[in-house]
């Protein structure tokens, strides 16, 4: 139980002041305004709430350290309530009415696309700090989540070595799932393996009985499951309930980014192989310090997840760039970001790839163990090779596409 009532109230109480009064404070004009759009209620709040907490934490740390360019950072936050139309709405509100200096936010790819063009048109720098399918090429946006190639390149060889050569892919039926499945396929074949089946599932499918039987018919050694969201969690439970866990290996590129592994019981989750930028179990000084300050702000640190840390690191990267640029000018900021900037975050070193505006970061191979992610191996400084193969913002600064990468 990660967010009990007491800690929740504490958490919200800490942020309440800033949340209620954005418009009043903004009249002053001597603050730097950071806009935030996240789903902190409704179906995607498991992702959004910890991200919002990370945002508040990062901003209060920045402000305690004296702010940026001598000004305090003020958060203008909107709850999109898991409603796609509200992204468009608040995207406009942030840029036209609140006239914020930067926007951090968006969770699902659709929500990013709903506001990306608005940000571009209004010259508002936009940070999308979420693991996603890769391929966005736009000088106005910075993305620091891991992309499929970064994950699959690490996860597939490890999982195949541990289990065997025959792989079955079960993926969420949307952009992320489709693209990730292709990358998995590529890496399986590069490693001398064979993909014996690929199935896609709409995000509201929650009954996997027939799928589990089908997988057994194909008799793979390994199942890789980039499944997304609450309904898809049912797969992992039904897989365990059928007693499949000890027969066929299971790996995922998504399970756990929203702390899903804490919804599964220990016996259901144990042994699932994953690869991310962050794990709560990462035993580094940076992570321990981060967990401590999180606990100090919110009571305990169990709500932290991959996306929250990405968000935290995104804000810290932005702050570092503002300090380096020495002004709030958009082009100065972008130049600073492109200067090979890097920060040390809870998940390790993170640097900005000037060519793609994506991130070069550590990818950790992990196994789920007792509702935590045990780090097995760290692959340092992985390049976003998928996006790099299509996007070069140095050569084409006016590019404004989300590429679908041919493999």
């Amino acid at each position: 139980m990660s967010l009990n009532r007491r800690t929740f109230l504490k958490g919200t109480a800490a942020t309440a002041g800033a949340a209620i009064l954005p418009n009043i404070l903004s009249a002053a004009g001597d603050t730097i305004k950071l806009g935030s759009v996240l789903d902190t209620s409704g179906g995607f709040d498991a992702y959004g709430k910890p991200m919002e907490m990370a945002l508040r934490l990062a901003v209060s740390e920045i402000n305690e350290a004296g702010g940026l360019l001598g000004k305090q950072v003020e958060v203008v936050a909107y709850d999109t309530q898991s409603d796609m139309a509200l992204y468009s709405q608040y995207g406009q509100q942030l840029t036209r009415e609140d006239k914020v200096d930067v926007v951090h936010g968006g969770i699902l790819s659709a929500s990013r696309e709903a506001i990306r063009q608005t940000m571009r048109k209004t010259n508002t720098p936009f940070f999308y700090n979420v693991l996603y399918e890769g391929g966005v090429c736009d000088r106005n946006i910075f993305i620091n989540g891991v992309t499929p190639a970064q994950q699959a390149a690490a996860l597939v060889p490890y999982a195949m070595e541990k289990t065997g050569k025959k792989v079955y892919i079960l993926a969420a039926d949307y952009n992320y799932g489709q693209i990730t499945a292709r990358w998995i396929q590529k890496f399986v074949e590069e490693n001398g393996g064979e993909v014996v089946g690929v199935d896609f599932f709409a995000l509201d499918v929650s009954d996997f009985g027939s799928t589990i039987a089908k997988v057994q018919t194909a008799a793979p050694d390994l199942v890789i499951a980039p499944l997304v969201g609450g309904a898809h969690l049912s797969f992992f439970r039904q897989w365990a309930a059928a007693g499949m866990k000890d027969r066929i290996g299971l790996a995922s590129t998504t399970m756990g980014v929203g702390n899903e592994h804490k919804v599964l019981t220990a016996e259901e989750g144990n042994g699932i192989m994953v690869a991310y930028n962050y794990s709560q179990e990462l035993d580094t000084p940076a992570n321990n310090a981060f967990k401590e300050s999180w606990s100090a702000a919110y009571g305990d640190s169990s709500a932290i997840h991959e996306l929250a840390v990405s968000h935290y690191q995104g804000i810290k990267t932005w702050a570092a760039a503002v300090a380096l640029a020495g002004s709030m000018d958009r082009d100065a900021l972008i130049n600073a970001m492109e200067s090979g900037l890097s920060i040390e975050g809870p998940a390790g070193n993170l640097s900005v790839d000037p060519q793609t505006h994506h991130a070069v970061l550590d990818v950790h191979l992990m196994e789920i163990e007792n509702q935590g992610m045990r780090v097995i191996e760290t692959l340092p400084q992985q390049q976003p090779i998928d996006t790099q193969s299509v996007c070069d913002l140095q050569a084409n600064p006016d590019d404004n596409t989300q590429y679908e990468i041919e493999i």
Binding site: T12, T15, A16, A19, I20, P22, T40, S41, G42, D45, E52, A77, Y78, D79, T80, Q81, D83, M84, A85, L86, S88, Q89, Y90, Q92, Q93, R96, E97, L108, S109, A110, E113, A114, R116, Q117, T118, D173, Y174, N175, G177, Q178, F200, A202, L203, D204, Q402, E404
Partner: protein, 345 residues
């Protein structure tokens, strides 16, 4: 009864002109635009349910269909005039075909509700499963769950590079809503509209009078879908992205809730219900103290307990009590909806 249509048009024009002038002084035009679009969507359901007695749980289907039709056509044509027309025609034809199937199959009442709901869910699931590269219409990738971004938005007819956006777009939407409202008013005053109300009241009687209720319901249903489709196209232009959530159960439920809150069976109720609730939702998103789902839930429950007739009828009643003028339309509508409930129970 006759002759007051011109008065009706005048009132609509004056009131909408006043609102178009006054509201932007208080709320940003961008926000107003979406409120207007939702208002039009509410009106589309109010027309078929409130005045036609067609219980439709899937009105979002035509909203989504309009938006997708627009997006797909705009990508292929590279301009907006034909796509706007298609966005009205395609949902209307779709609804007409569905209506033929439903009404000629003698489906009524809650069974209609289920069919419309199911058809919407089928569309939702279909659009959701089109993420793969094989789902292409012309140059437009359907994009599955992530939807379709990046299509041509509204332009001056004949000049694809003259975009209508920002404040201008608000005025376009406002005028569109006023036009639709006048057309709906005219429709309801016409024989067709009065016969539709008769059918809502008592299908058997109307068919014993010699009216083919199947054909008339199909036409009305199709008109409702056309309006929803227009709202969908306007939405697509506003948000610049269309996603399958337009077809979702939640979207459909919200449309019904707007209409109930505003009051069925009067033309302005669904418009104000939609705009009001959507505005509350937008305002709520600015706080993160208490879960917004919870607040919305409490608002709705309190509302139904204390203003059971809907907002506009309640206001009208208050007006009547204060000024003592009996206005049949308003008081009657409240009662009718209740009666229908009783007939089912």
């Amino acid at each position: 009864m006759q002759g007051s249509m011109s008065k009706d048009v005048m009132t609509t024009l004056v009131v909408s002109a006043a609102l178009i002038w006054a509201l932007p002084l208080m709320v940003s035009t961008y926000t107003l635009t979406i409120l207007i679009i939702y208002g039009m969507l509410g009106l589309s359901l109010g027309l078929i349910w409130g005045f036609g007695g067609i219980i439709c749980f899937g009105q979002a289907a035509y909203f989504g269909l309009g938006a997708y039709t627009y997006a797909i056509a705009a990508i292929n044509f590279g301009e907006s005039t034909i796509p706007m027309l298609l966005a009205v025609i395609v949902p209307a034809i779709f609804a007409a075909l569905l209506g033929l199937m439903m009404f000629y199959g003698r489906l009524t009442d809650v069974y209609l509700g289920v069919i419309t709901l199911v058809v919407m869910l089928i569309l939702f699931k279909f659009i959701n499963s089109t993420a793969g590269p094989q789902y292409v219409i012309g140059n437009a990738r359907l994009g599955g769950y992530n939807g379709i971004p990046g299509f041509q938005t509204l332009n001056v007819p004949g000049d694809p590079s003259a975009y209508i956006w920002g404040d201008a777009y608000f005025y376009v939407c406002a005028v569109m809503l006023a036009l639709v409202f006048i057309l709906v008013s005219a429709l309801l005053r016409s024989s067709f509209g009065r016969i539709a109300v008769g059918i809502r009241e008592n299908e058997t009687r109307m068919s014993l009078m010699g009216y083919d209720i199947r054909a008339r319901k199909t036409i009305l249903f199709s008109i409702g879908a056309a309006i929803a489709g227009l709202a969908g196209a306007l939405f697509a232009n506003w948000s610049e992205i269309v996603t399958p959530s337009l077809f979702s159960l939640r979207q459909s439920a919200e449309i019904i809730i707007w209409c109930i809150v505003g009051g069925f069976s009067n033309r302005v109720g669904p418009i104000f219900g939609a705009a009001g609730l959507a505005y509350i939702k937008i305002l709520l998103g600015q706080q993160s103290m208490v879960d917004n789902t919870l607040i919305m839930g409490i608002i709705l429950v309190v509302f139904v307990l204390f203003l059971p007739k809907g907002l506009v009828p309640a206001v009208a009643e208050l007006w009547n009590i204060s000024f003592g003028r009996r206005k049949r339309g308003a008081s009657r509508s409240g009662r009718r909806v209740r009666n229908r409930g009783k007939a089912n129970g």
